[in-house]
Symmetry: C3
Subunit: 286 residues, 3 copies
């Protein structure tokens, strides 16, 4: 059973989930992927799962980034049919499995999990403990989806919008997906995207109205400049040598940046703003 | 074996405890409940255990919040007789098991553990590694209490004072037990306490001299106000929607707050101060 | 399999390593020693391993503090012949096993691990996932070193310089190795070093040009002063009662401090500067 949440490690939330899984399915190996998803950030959780899931063996993934707990939002368990890797996904129906399901393939089946609470007088604000962990333990122990919930059409699962990515000749406008502990800046763009845009080893990046020069690289040992590397998830990442590229570029997850050819005069007047996922596309400064 | 400590995750303290348990009892499942109890805060550790222990299966709980390590304070192992849940508690005799024992019931037996150190020239400042983890491993592997320590009367265990709670008609004065990662504010009061005080769905809370209006709720999706929910531990908690109720109310663990009826003019002149567990009861401002 | 890294817990890096080990060696117990080594701080990782390794049972230690990942630096697996404790060490060849090998003894054999990446178009910047975790899983499952890499002479392993320690009659100049969560300040000096310098229970410490009085102690309950205790690793540590000795002394890892006899007038004019491991020995202020 693999666990992802925004519970942090400061409280016993994650620990109690571990304990409940172990109590209900003795002998189960519990693997914490991370509990440090930023609070309430379903999208960050969905992206962390996308990065992690290709490396997981068979099992049950439980993801709890769940600001809607205790409301009418659906609690779900989903079965997937993949050659290796997880067989079941368990969590709130808020889109957290959107990107994982693009990797693992269309769900075979989905069920809504009944609500549960520790005691009648307790609240139902800890579904990780009361609903998701017990469901994962039962699935790991051999229960079928039908035994633990009410079927519904997998097409009805909530989905998140795809990350922004816009490739034209000489330019890639791409979204910052993630800034890691080291300040590396992962983009929605992949190496093939800059190739398709006709961009070379020397590029300009426009971030927040400022233009930087970046160079293609393959490791973090890149001298004083900003490097653009194919990262371990096969996306592009900005990196600096032993310091934070995010701090140098002043970007954070959700921002848009533009990659372009420094020799192209056509690009001289563009700039790219911040994407907060609620507003219209960023405009072009004049 | 379940672990709770104030070691944090920044050092290898908790990891070495895990390793020692695994070394001495191969095959044992080790479940970290949390290692982020605030440093030296025995009471916070005792409350985290109280919240966690109803959800644990059989096993041994090791709790190391132990500012007195290396002094004459007693190291203990305690056996409890409960239908399910932990069979043994291991840790310093500083009251950390006070609230857990109210749940699990009177101890069957208690022993003082002999001191131990890694090497003669090493200090005895890491009993988690040198005393508690090995004792837990032996108990898990089948040793009896008598084999690992010297019996003493369980009544002699150190206990902590109960959390403050004072219920009168129209008013509940209650202690903040815990502020979690999300800023939710757990109180010593339970839903039955506000019912017994005759309070309704609309309440006033006096915190630090300031009066706030709160409304009963059942989830975190409560609009812009402060909600009072029955939480997952069957206590009352103040919550805000996607922000910290603790920051809004400016409270922290150990503070006292008053819940009262906004329609009652009798309450108009009260206020409640901060309880640091060392001073007298907070007075009434005039 | 024991894991140490500078990945932190904020991202899924450590979790994915756990998952890969579990995927490739089902049933393996994975013990996280710590993932909070300061980023890129190979020396801190090497010291954490030195502290932890005497307490580990048989197994494979994986250490990933690896600023050179993706460059030509060698990835290695090393076999040691020790009565108990780890049999294999896996990680980058950057000196991280220097101090552990002084404890475990001369390696029996060493191999360079072939590079690997998730997909052709991905970078090789996550050897923890792609190289080290799979190698550890294979070793744990019974593979020999020869099966997983190319032999080289263990003498060619990169080593770190030993911590600074200079003992003369009446004075010990010693390096701060580590400041833990509680602010305890571990020194390179051991109890025998102050004995050999002829120092007694009352000492002076010179840190950053300021002189403090310290007293020998055996626990953290030492009143208002700074204590010097034999710590749980059999080194000396400065401690304060429930506050940070590092903050009081204004020291951090890598600093040099001098311990000396307060009664010795010869010592009156010395002071000790900061050692950054790159500069010459600190001079004597006049």
């Amino acid at each position: 059973v693999f666990l992802v949440s925004d519970f942090g490690d400061g409280d016993e939330f994650a620990g109690v989930m571990r304990a409940v899984v172990t109590r209900d399915a003795p002998g189960v190996p519990v693997v914490d992927l991370t509990h440090q998803i930023p609070p309430f950030d379903v999208r960050a959780g969905a992206l962390a799962l996308e990065r992690a899931v290709p490396h997981l063996g068979p099992g049950v993934v439980v993801a709890v980034v769940d600001p809607g707990v205790g409301t009418g939002r659906r609690a779900v368990a989903v079965a997937v049919d993949c050659a290796s890797g997880p067989r079941f996904l368990v969590g709130p129906d808020n889109g957290i499995f959107t990107f994982v399901l693009e990797i693992l393939g269309r769900p075979e089946a989905a069920v809504a999990l009944p609500s549960a609470r520790w005691r009648p007088e307790a609240g139902d604000t800890f579904d990780g403990r009361d609903v998701f962990a017990p469901a994962a333990a039962r699935l790991w122990a051999g229960a079928s989806l039908a035994e633990i919930g009410s079927p519904f059409a997998p097409e009805d699962l909530v989905t998140l919008p795809r990350p922004h990515l816009e490739t034209t000749q000489g330019s890639v406008v791409t979204e910052v997906l993630w800034v890691d502990r080291f300040g590396n800046v992962q983009l929605s763009a992949r190496p093939i995207d800059i190739a398709q845009a006709g961009l070379g080893a020397q590029l300009e990046v426009v971030a927040g109205g400022t233009t930087f020069t970046v160079r293609s690289a393959t490791s973090f040992e890149i001298g004083g400049d900003i490097g653009l590397i194919p990262d371990s998830n096969a996306r592009l990442s900005f990196v600096c040598r032993r310091r934070s590229a995010a701090a140098v570029l002043e970007v954070q997850a959700g921002d848009l940046v533009a990659l372009r050819d420094p020799a192209d005069p056509h690009n001289r007047r563009e700039a790219v703003g911040r994407d907060n996922h609620d507003e219209a596309e960023p405009g072009v400064e004049s």
